[in-house]
Symmetry: D2
């Protein structure tokens, strides 16, 4: 039976993505994908969508490989942050505190069971638009860009894990997340699990890593306001030679209208729209999908493309 929602965690804050083609990746994210640069350090560029209220939602870091370095959630209050730290320490998953940086205050770091690094912070740096970025409507973080692709905000990410059941046990205890949907394989193990810490239907999904890696990344997703914007984006990706992996189409799981592309270094990026769907029920029962049901493909019959099951970053040698 679902427990009462905890809500110590307010929302997914940002991810740090690694790229071994930093110039090409930055060009993709800013010129094609419509993110906006807030600032940069030696190795990293801070990026955000036009209505992300914080300094950044994507830290793009030059590296020798791809994938992600860390995932960050913002706590609901200083007290909520403390509660989460205690819970995580009790789980033996903690790494320790990291000092404030240009983007947010002190953050508590920990690992999930597959080795992905997470951090939680409360104090943050709000984005302050300069004169050229000030929106006409003051309830918006940044003016609406005149771009066919202009995501509104960070939506969720998808991580790979060898043992999704372990994640399912861990994340509700560590972050207070709820499970909203999951895929139960015929062998009894979970093939995928979708979690949320608020009213979005998910902010992180884990799917089984079929390769011999750990801490790997499947994709990050930005939300657009309307499905039509994803159709427009498809043309822009086509015009710019971006690899469109699959979509646009509608997922059966979570009903997300999706489009997946690969940025130049190979990290998978999604544009998505959830319509008016939210998880408002405090006692939402996880929706369980079987292998047989998933074999039907996506909502309108599209067969899931093979690379969607096999491609993650960083790449690993095939088993």
């Amino acid at each position: 039976m679902p427990a009462e929602p905890i809500y110590d965690i307010a929302h997914l804050g940002h991810i740090e993505m690694l790229t071994n083609k930093p110039e090409a990746s930055l060009d993709f994210f800013t010129r094609v994908f419509g993110l906006i640069e807030s600032g940069r350090t030696d190795d990293s560029v801070y990026l955000r969508a036009f209505d992300d209220y914080e300094y950044h939602s994507l830290k793009l870091t030059a590296a020798k490989t791809t994938g992600i370095r860390h995932v960050a959630y913002r706590a609901a209050s200083p007290e909520a942050l403390e509660r989460r730290v205690k819970a995580i320490e009790a789980l033996g998953a903690g790494i320790g505190w990291r000092d404030a940086d240009e983007a947010h205050g002190p953050a508590y770091r920990f690992h999930d069971p597959d080795g992905h690094e997470f951090e939680i912070y409360y104090e943050t740096r709000r984005y302050q638009p300069g004169p050229d970025a000030r929106p006409a409507l003051k309830n918006q973080a940044h003016r609406t860009p005149n771009r066919a692709i202009a995501p509104r905000r960070l939506d969720h990410l998808n991580l790979l894990a060898k043992d999704v059941d372990a994640i399912r046990r861990f994340l509700p205890q560590a972050l207070g997340s709820r499970v909203t949907e999951m895929i139960q394989l015929d062998d009894g193990a979970l093939g995928g699990c979708w979690f949320t810490c608020n009213n979005k239907s998910y902010d992180v999904a884990y799917t089984r890593d079929m390769a011999n890696g750990h801490g790997r990344f499947h994709h990050v997703t930005y939300a657009v306001d309307q499905r039509e914007h994803i159709l427009q984006a498809s043309d822009i990706f086509l015009e710019n030679g971006v690899h469109i992996e699959t979509g646009p189409h509608k997922h059966a799981v979570q009903q997300t209208f999706f489009l997946y592309v690969w940025e130049p270094a190979g990290n998978r990026i999604e544009l998505a729209n959830a319509g008016a769907r939210l998880i408002l029920a405090p006692d939402w029962e996880p929706v369980v999908w079987t292998e047989a049901e998933r074999r039907k493909g996506q909502a309108w019959g599209l067969k899931t493309i093979e690379s969607f099951h096999t491609h993650g970053t960083p790449p690993v040698a095939e088993q």
Copy 2:
């Protein structure tokens, strides 16, 4: 400074709307507006949108007048319900408990400062689709209707109040709601105030009642998945002789894409779409609009129609 969100209240559950033209109103809500009947008693019909997970979100009750009889919120847990009851009793606003009925468990009743009746409940009756209503995708409450107007879920309501400042003090204490936006009139009083108890940008708005009434109703809103669905709905309202009051257009406040119509008894009904906009920041600072700013009209310049300021239900004698 904003306090930590409380989240004792999960979401707006339903409203009870009064109609003195019950047959015409029911015909509007089911044949034109796309709500679905769950059941009925002598004087009331229980209606819901296709993805409302509870038995109903609109109780349509035959009466000698119009407006609403009560507004109901669902608590996040039995404990959260108890906390809210204590808080409301401490405010001296409580009425007392009402027994369970066909739609949900025991509910605690209270009045807001303008005299609107509210109730809070936790135990509820989930909608159970029969064979003809079962959706193809099991993460949805009811099959998607083949209708040009098919709202997904109840979104919010708008009440009128003589003293909006009193409401602004009351609702955060009673329900733990946060204020997300407000209109500050030149005389210092609030002209409007938007509240939320979750990540939606608002679930109830109050605007100043210029007439000599109390406990009056401005509108109730259902959410559709895409803005285009509101454009389609406009044609359907036109074809069915429904009074379109204003829209479709985009509000400056909250950026909602809206369309307002009157059901046959005169209650105002809105279809709306918020795109991907959510209030995720736990420390969201209320956006304050001035009278001068509001005089600019809606987001894209539409002048607010006079009846929008004057028409509420039930009607009152002009002052």
Copy 3:
């Protein structure tokens, strides 16, 4: 070099489709697909989209098999009809005149080189809406239905032919059609050819029949006003157990946004949207696609599904 457009033919008028499951097919076209019945005879039901101005655009006829019995074009004037009859007789393709029936005046019949039967007529029966069908806006043939699937008008059809080059020579002479796009196979033959007799980018396409048949049918297409309507339709097909073959996606050829389903008897039906694309240039040069280009799949990378190349109606024994 393109000749001056002829414009003797005003537009595609209707097709007669055969079904060996007449009740199920009629249920599909009216209850799910949103066509409207104008009338019926013993074996046929006359159907139309809400803004088709003639009595019908689809004659659905009970038969022992599937596919189509005839395709009908409306001439621009009585004189234009006479000119076409002479041209067709000169080609040796004529069958002769058919008397007026309940739907239109006398029609001249002929065969295309693959054996499909065509007819051309000028006098027609305009659809006259009764009180319940009268639109709110008088520049529309029938009121807008309150349906998620409500095609506006017949758009085009796709026929199969053993020798597409023969069709390419024939149709411009017979109907005055122009070729707007075509697929040139590596062996020099045409794999597909798109024709128009007006400003639409095509009203009939022919693609190579890989099976041992003749006079076969690939699909008929109705146009909706917006791409979003096709996304909505996808959900409705899913809810109603309709076989979605492929889509929604965007064709590279002609850039049509498409969705293909099979009606219960197996005839393929498309919903499509062309955006604002029209062929206005009087000297439009046919766009020629190579096999290599077509192997890239559809516009956004969707691989063309195998059945799209093999399934036609009526079915034929495999070679």
Copy 4:
């Protein structure tokens, strides 16, 4: 009774617009409105939408005033051009031939009864995209811009005239245009008249000039693929301080989904979408609207804004 369509004229080709704020106007059309520069001469810049196949659809010319200098239509063939010249000469409206320029071949000039200058040409300069402008799909003139506002093609224009009835008699004789809709005032005169020379529902509209001018301009319209694109454009105009005069909304006449703005010099510009609506009937009977019908406002009830009746370019002293 409608005559057989003539089709000597293929389509509206371009207009020459005058601006007394050439830099600001050019900035509007290219940076905000999404037109693309093809080239320039001393006083003029040639602009086009991304799928306009000719060198330009808008010639923006620096001048001491605003409004338009000429309207150009492309003939269907050299012979069709000759036929039109003869017809126009017979009407006594001809001015004479103009030599070829950088944009198209020799053009025959004439005046309409209100003094607007028109020209007809056949030979034209097709737009040839350079490497950076080459589209991914070869059936398109120019790559799709990554812009929220990116019109596909020139759609139509609206001129003002003292005597719309005179225009109604003239244009079918001069261009072979058909009347598709019109407004009949209570005094028997025409208040507005919509004409087409092809399958678009109109390519030019004339409405009565209430001021003491002649040869004045009401607006020019570019078409976008989807209505949602017009909603997006509204935000972009808002962000860029562009005067939004009215819309987005749907016209009752012609059912066009519209948005009107003023470019910096005061010329009115429209973005529009017609959905799948076309005039395919060769014997289309003009739809006649009465004053009483027009008083109902636009399709969904929006009252027509006063400036829409009074503002034209160039401005004239009030009577």
